[in-house]
């Protein structure tokens, strides 16, 4: 059957079978950033946004995503123009094998839309369904708090994709986030 939905802002019609999960369909159509870790909704590696909400796409039947607006990691930033949360993960070395990271970042961006200034405990609770085997979570939690601070202070991320911008340094230029879909809330300031 055919399913219509929006992926990263683009209307699409995709082929699917009734038993397909959203993850099956995404991966088959080249959105392989979302990873298959358990197929039971227990690890969070496949987290994407459906109509703005973080969802484990491996247990979301694709039939329930008909006409929905889906955002995946591919829709966030690019390697040379990272979203602040992605930049914070890079700068804090908050990744190793990387298999959990797309899901972790999608869960984190959803948190920061809902709560732009979370406490460490709030970050830990929001990420508690997203497993990571490599990092002990320490640098991940630090990265999310760092991202919140960067987004809150309106500090720009280097557009050349090269160097880290010092979040409290005077050299950083403040620019507005131009992405409509990034959820960094800078437009609200």
């Amino acid at each position: 059957m055919e399913i219509e939905l929006e992926i990263n802002g683009v209307e699409q019609t995709v082929e699917a079978s009734k038993s397909d999960s959203l993850l099956d369909v995404l991966r088959r159509n080249g959105y392989t950033g979302a990873k298959r870790g358990c197929d039971t909704g227990a690890c969070g590696f496949c987290t994407v946004h459906v109509d703005g909400e973080p969802v484990k796409s491996c247990v979301k039947p694709v039939t329930k995503a008909r006409d929905a607006s889906v955002e995946t990691i591919e829709g966030l930033g690019t390697q040379n123009d990272l979203h602040p949360v992605q930049q914070a993960f890079v700068d804090n070395t908050a990744l190793q094998c990387g298999f959990c990271i797309p899901g972790m970042i999608m869960r984190s961006t959803a948190l920061l839309v809902e709560n732009p200034d979370p406490s460490e405990q709030e970050v830990r609770e929001a990420l508690s369904d997203n497993l990571c085997r490599c990092t002990g979570y320490k640098k991940i939690v630090e990265a999310v708090l760092d991202a919140a601070e960067r987004m809150d202070s309106g500090t720009a991320v280097a557009a050349d994709g090269g160097q880290t911008v010092d979040s409290d340094g005077g050299a950083a230029t403040v620019t507005e986030c131009s992405r409509t879909d990034c959820g960094c809330m800078e437009g609200d300031q």
């Binding site: 392989t32 979302a34 797309p102 830990r124 508690s128 497993l131 085997r133 490599c134």
Partner: protein
Amino acid sequence: MDRRPDSTEIDEADPAEADEESATGAAREPDRKPVSERDAITVDEEKDDARKIVTGQARYTADYRDRFPDLAHGRVVRSDIAHGYVESVDTSAAEVMDGVDAVITPFDDVVPDKLYSSSGQSYPEPSPWDLKVLREHVRFVGDPVAAVAADDAETADRAARKVEVKYRELDAVFDPEEAFDEDAPQLFEADDVENKQSGADYSRNLESHFEGELGDVDAEFEQASDDEERHVIQTEWETPYQSHCVPEPHTTIAYTDEDDRHTFITATQVPFHTRRQIAHLFDVPIRDVRVKKPRIGAGFGSKQEMAIEPITFALHLAADRPVKLEMSRQEEFTALRFRHPMRMQMQTVVTDDGDIEAMDLYTLSNSGAYGTHGMTVANNVGTKPLPLYPRVPNVRFSGDVVHTNLPMGAAMRGYGAPQGHFAVEAHMDEVARRLDLDPIEFRLQNAVREGDLDRSVAILKDGDRFTRTIRSCGIRECVERGKEAIGYDDPEQPDKDHRKRGVGMALIAQGSGVAGKELGAAQVQMNEDGSFHLQVGGVDTGTGADTMFSQIAAEVLGCTPEDIVVIAADTDLTPFDYGAYASSTTYISGRAVKKAAEDAKERLLEWGSKLLDEPPEALDTGDGDVYSERTGNCVSLEEIGYEATYGDDKREHILGDGNHSTDESPPPYGAQFVDVTVDTETGEYELNKLVFAADCGVAINPALVEGQIEGGEHMSLEYATSGDLTFDEDGNPEVLGFRQYGMPRTTDHPEMETILVETHEPTGPFGAKSIAELPTNGVPPALSNAIRDAVGVRLTELPFTAEDLKTALDEQSADEG
């Protein structure tokens, strides 16, 4: 690049100290530099795949599906009984289904009938050859019996369920001590196994027995029994199965290209071992097999195995099209690989003054159904922690490795050392507390020092080839700084009487590669623009090894790490490497990279000499140039690159190669501290803080080193508090996924503090030792010791539950009452 501010406190090279080390036999160290003179190392260089990872562009094996329009999907049919023979397999219902490409069973010609070991170890593997690709004799619930390939995963699933297997069931045995009994069901007949390991006796389900001794342990125990000033203390310890919880399930794509060469894109830690093993098993030339490792979703030892490549390849041959086989999470938790459960006994003779006169350690390892890494993991139970105390004159270490009808143990990060450290370091703490000695002072009195001759690491070997001299040891500074960070001397007690706080510590050691059984190789090629391609066999499992390689090469070549393009872990494109295991990658493969870069540097200096008209001895590399220390003149690497490639006079492709193999395996050291509060009414306990101080020599990339430590402690925390597999009375697994398994989440982690103590290991690249496994060893003993400190009871079985602790507290009050 972010230079570490805290690394400036590291002391500068002291010439007197260096001279002293030359006098003790260590080579003089031309690569020992103060932090201020390091350019590309001891720097938090951005991980080279970080941007790919955060944007979802990093490609893992399953992400290559789009390269294969006719890719078939595999599914394995597994035994649902613990022990028996396959009498028949009816594949007819599966074969007639639309979209099914192949169904294979043990009886098909395409499936090899040879015995092999899946252990990704050197040749011949120090593991028995006791496996077959598909198994007629099944020995645990989960053994692969048949496999299916179909056009899509859903069809493969449905077809696999239609394969009907009839079994003749046999009695099974699940307890390692019972498996020893003469009457116990026997898993292997003598001719079911080739390449048997030392002490094997399959009539008693014994895969291996081993023992080694230094001095005279029995005599020491006998004398101590009539001596009031010497104390004999015995303890017993037990550890469970642990799952790697490897993020990316085992996944392989197998295909044959237009040159009839068999190619594997596969999630592996051991591409070159896998190439050899596939070639041997399927009787094809090694040169016709190519194994490529893409990005992999970690390994932790689970992928130091040729676990699923043979089934994938057999399906590919049968289906005659590319096949992808991807394990489910349930298969990972029930049928793949685990940390071996063990029961250990430790006894020591200790004087009133706290000198250890004798140590005797025994382990009984449950190998499960097959012997991959069985003996070698059990060997490490002793040979990793006993070297913490190398001056003890009388030491014995022995073990038995026994088969049961449960899933197979294998390599897992730490490799026997987590079990061994639990026994040794909780035992040492218990000794100190019973003899009223300070647990830390008692250990430091006996603990390893620089210059010690360590014989215990080679206790199971003949001769003294592997006896080692300790050339770098920061264990005392680890303890000092860890004590300060945890507040060891002054833990504040909670207000409520039933809540008690305590602090515990464990000393830790590991190795850097397998002594005498490693080989790494690398090649550097210069490009015209002054950049380089680095081809290296070493395997980045997600740790950042590729980044570390680029930092080492850049430090030698005088360029930036970004100027190095790393091509790694592809058996067609890179030099040989044993693979990522035993904490070998920085120490062995990194040293090969350093040698290759030094070889290329010689050519750079020759060309610099020609262009600057100065002798090469006066020149060095740095800041992208070859420069003269004498005159200050310089020529850029780019100028050299163009001149060497296109010059009128003479031309040369600047290359360098490096090989590294060694009998050395210097131990990194650590101290794990745990701060705990126990509720004496319920037995519940809460970890307040973890501190880990590590001496890994010189940290090439401190941020990545911290990541290794924090992730290692995570696994160690799980081992101590929550990880376990259980089985019903028929050997059926009860833990099928993350929901039943206690992998710690963000909310389960206490505060963690990580401390790097720099030493300089003269045999390592720029002074580096290893880090990856070290931090997996500490939490179980340190937590057991912290609970003992808080409430006076000793927990000896992992994981520690509130119920166990409550029972121990009740027994304690009954004793006191």
